[in-house]
């Protein structure tokens, strides 16, 4: 009897003392919310981009099996984001500077928002039924992730500017200046079929990898630490 009473008292005390403090997270540090640190922001963003790249790789390999013998070949030899200049090696990336690197990241992410949603719509309407349910869900997921990542990187850039680690950037680059207006139709070769999907995914896989890598470089440039 007394033992159970003691246990109950202990549990009540624990519950009262170890209450999880919840507070909304706001990136700009408004009053009343708990602003995450830059390191937290970087970590979240990098994790998101890594996940996005992983899903796009899976989706691409799923489509790959239907295309004998074309492996890893781009039909049109071009991605619609070819207009965005991206550093293609380490020296170029380091030479680019953090502000431009941030711009490139944002441009890439902006360029892919629309095509991915169209891809999802297109996949669901595919008559050939080449895709299973996982493909549909993955396409939807990456399209959502692109949007989220784009917002996250924007918030992070703002925070960096507030902190003074980032200088003036070109700002939010509208994708129209660098990217063909109808990005999705860029991949179209006649009738919409799975080949278009494959090329699109091929390009997206690569661009997501770029985004991730650029973010990692940015992080280690701005916050050198144990992970770098």
């Amino acid at each position: 009897m007394t033992y159970s009473l003691l246990v109950a008292c202990g549990l009540v005390y624990m519950e009262l003392s170890m209450r999880v403090v919840t507070a909304p997270i706001c990136a700009y540090g408004q009053a009343g919310c708990h602003a995450p640190s830059l390191a937290d922001l970087f970590e979240r963003v990098i994790q998101q981009s890594s996940r996005m790249h992983g899903i796009s790789s899976d989706l691409h390999s799923e489509l790959e099996q239907y295309f004998f013998p074309r492996k890893n070949v781009l039909g049109k030899h071009k991605c619609h984001t070819y207009g965005i200049l991206t550093p293609d090696d380490k020296e170029n990336a380091q030479r680019l500077g953090r502000e431009q690197l941030t711009d490139v990241i944002l441009s890439l992410l902006a360029a892919w928002s629309d095509p991915l949603s169209q891809l999802h719509r297109s996949m669901s309407q595919d008559q050939n039924q080449n895709f299973n349910d996982h493909s549909y869900s993955k396409a939807l997921e990456i399209s959502d992730m692109v949007h989220e990542l784009r917002e996250g990187v924007a918030i992070m850039a703002e925070k960096m500017k507030l902190l003074g680690v980032l200088g003036n950037t070109m700002g939010y680059i509208s994708p129209e200046s660098l990217v063909p207006s109808s990005a999705f139709t860029f991949y179209k070769q006649g009738e919409l079929n799975s080949v278009d999907h494959h090329d699109l995914l091929y390009c997206f896989r690569r661009d997501s990898n770029k985004v991730k890598n650029y973010l990692q470089i940015l992080k280690c440039t701005i916050l050198p630490g144990l992970d770098c």
């Binding site: 781009l74 990336a93 470089i217 440039t221």
Partner: protein
């Protein structure tokens, strides 16, 4: 002419011998690109496998084309990476660009193109193994653990974030075959716990970029865990000593309590205890001696010897103080029967009686006193008679219940008789003593002047067994009839004996009536008017010796009451209700009024004081009994 022909023949031979001999040259076989790898995502190398060379010296060349460009480049470096390889340095390497690579093998007869391979450097990264691996032993609260630390491969630039590596290590004991894998993630240190004391461990580490290939395992590090077994050993030693100590204590306890434990676990089997049985005699083998020892001289009981012994254990002693005094005085010949008077307590256990004292005490205190004396004498005889009985439960005879009015109802007798002996141990010593005691009891009751003497023994035998049975209560009336007859018969016999005995001693100074036969009248019950209803015994009327006849009928005499002279007033209920007055004379007169077949033998108290026992029984010894037919 002949020389020209020979020359032509030689030339022809020279031309055709290769064909004749079967040796063919062919263009080279098709080479194949086996793999391309980049160790740090800044350079990469491709290796190919050449096909058949066709018998001719073959050269290989690697050509590549970059994505979205039609320009074809040849491999810049064929030697750095070894045989059949092409090394792309930093300047020639572009990331996120698709390389279309082809290898061409050429010999004099032709060339062969390999299948083109598309390579994106991002996906072919295979780093070098981690470097500067160290393993140290550290302690956590006395328990050792391994701390493994390493550095990323030198070429991989993780510091700028260009490459992100994840690590994995594996551990095993030297004598084991299987490795234990641990994924370390992005960290560069790792702790291994749960080590075997004194074991020798092997540790290896490898790494992988986010999307790439695992590196080779690093060089093995050996580490030997120090012996902390002695710490465990001391614990075992302590445990052993403690358990031995406990064991010793338990053994000692067991030894001390071995006997009681033995009795608890293996209770001793009770062996037969035969009186007079000698094991040694049995072993010696002399059967005569053994069985003679077994034979009890007085079994079956023929005389009145030791019957008290048999009954002693069943005796229930209930001797009030006054009774004891009275009994003691009764031994004394000169002791007065006067003191026998008016004792309100039972001489017997009281339990065994039919609570006669409670019923008779109020009104017939004298009768009890008288009855006590008679009981003493009669009980001896009765017990003797009981021994003749077969099937009588001695337990029932002697056992006394508090709640039962007459536990001795089995024989129709009040069980008070055996208990009489308990306060009188001297009576149980031997038959002679009993006889003397009986005589004494008779005598002292008769010695008083007030005691009326009994009629002569001529009537005694004729009386036969007439028993006073105070059977109070109606608990077991049914038991009266079947057994009382038997009892009466046997009792008659005993009475005759005692009467004979008494007869012998008659000239000792007793008045003749002392040797009268004791007669009993069976008391059937006491009705609500405090009347003792007696069952007269119809015994051998007219027969002086021998066994008396069984009573033909059941005639009961009612005890009407006790008069002022402490005399039991009997009421003959069979024919008429007459009041008996308590002396022989009157009884005789009454008897004459009876039916000739009905012999009512009533023992009446001669003198109320001594004749009336305390327990309310009429002592036949003191009574005047008149055999009447």
């Amino acid at each position: 002419m002949k020389k020209a022909v020979e020359l032509v023949l030689l030339l022809l031979l020279l031309f055709f011998t290769p064909h004749i001999m079967g040796k063919r040259y062919s263009p080279p076989g098709k080479p194949t690109l086996t793999r391309c790898r980049s160790p740090e995502k800044e350079t990469f190398t491709c290796w190919w496998e050449p096909g058949s060379d066709g018998g001719l010296p073959t050269t290989h060349a690697l050509y590549y084309r970059k994505e979205s460009s039609e320009r074809v480049y040849e491999c810049p470096d064929y030697h750095t990476a070894g045989e059949n390889s092409c090394f792309f340095n930093k300047n020639d390497t572009s990331i996120w660009v698709n390389y279309n690579i082809t290898v061409v093998a050429t010999n004099t007869l032709g060339s062969a193109f390999s299948d083109p391979v598309d390579v994106d450097v991002v996906y072919i990264v295979k780093p070098n193994p981690p470097e500067k691996q160290t393993v140290t032993i550290m302690e956590d609260k006395g328990w050792p653990f391994l701390r493994v630390s390493w550095e990323p491969p030198q070429k991989a630039d993780t510091r700028s974030g260009w490459i992100t590596l994840i690590y994995e290590l594996r551990v095993k004991l030297e004598e084991e075959n299987e490795w234990e894998m641990h994924l370390a993630g992005h960290q560069k240190t790792f702790n291994i716990f749960s080590l075997r004391s004194g074991g020798k461990y092997l540790v290896e580490v490898r790494c992988k970029p986010d999307h790439g290939f695992w590196s080779e395992w690093s060089s093995t590090s050996y580490i030997k865990v120090p012996d902390y077994f002695h710490r465990e050993k001391s614990v075992w030693i302590l445990l052993t000593i403690f358990s031995a100590f406990i064991f010793l204590i338990l053994t000692w306890l067991l030894h001390m309590n071995s006997r009681s434990l033995k009795n608890c676990i293996l209770p001793p089997v009770p062996g037969p205890k035969i009186k007079g049985f000698d094991n040694q005699l049995l072993k010696n083998g002399k059967s005569d001696e053994i069985f003679s020892a077994l034979m009890v001289s007085n079994f079956p009981p023929t005389t009145s010897s030791n019957y008290e012994d048999l009954l002693v254990e069943y005796l229930e002693v209930y001797v009030p103080v006054e009774q004891e005094l009275m009994q003691e005085e009764s031994k004394d010949l000169h002791g007065g029967c006067l003191k026998c008077e008016r004792s309100t307590s039972d001489s017997d256990s009281g339990r065994g009686s039919c609570d006669s004292h409670t019923l008779l005490m109020d009104k017939c205190g004298e009768t009890k006193e008288e009855g006590r004396h008679t009981d003493r004498a009669s009980s001896r005889m009765l017990t003797e008679a009981q021994r003749h009985q077969k099937g009588w439960e001695k337990d029932t005879l002697t056992y006394a219940h508090g709640d039962m009015v007459s536990p001795d109802m089995s024989n129709g007798r009040v069980k008070t008789w055996p208990s009489v002996f308990s306060p009188l141990p001297q009576y149980s010593s031997n038959p002679l003593d009993k006889q003397s005691s009986l005589e004494m009891a008779k005598q002292h009751c008769l010695s008083t002047s007030s005691c009326l003497t009994q009629p002569g023994h001529s009537t005694k035998e004729a009386l036969g067994p007439s028993n006073w049975d105070f059977c109070l209560g109606n608990k077991q009336p049914h038991l009266l009839h079947p057994q009382t007859q038997v009892g009466r018969q046997l009792q008659a016999h005993s009475e005759v004996n005692i009467s004979n005995i008494g007869r012998k001693q008659a000239p000792a100074g007793l008045q003749s009536p002392a040797l009268r036969s004791t007669e009993y009248v069976e008391v059937q019950r006491v009705n609500e008017e405090d009347l003792v209803l007696l069952q007269p015994v119809v015994s051998g009327c007219g027969r002086i010796e021998g066994y008396p006849q069984m009573p033909k009928g059941k005639d009961y005499s009612k005890v009407k009451g006790v008069d002022s002279d402490n005399m039991l007033l009997l009421q003959r209920e069979v024919m008429e209700e007459d009041w008996w007055t308590g002396n022989c004379y009157t009884s005789s007169t009454v008897n004459t009024t009876q039916k000739p077949t009905a012999c009512i033998h009533t023992a009446m108290p001669v003198q109320g004081d001594m004749a009336l026992a305390m327990n309310g029984y009429v002592d036949t010894a003191t009574m005047c009994t008149l055999p009447t037919c």
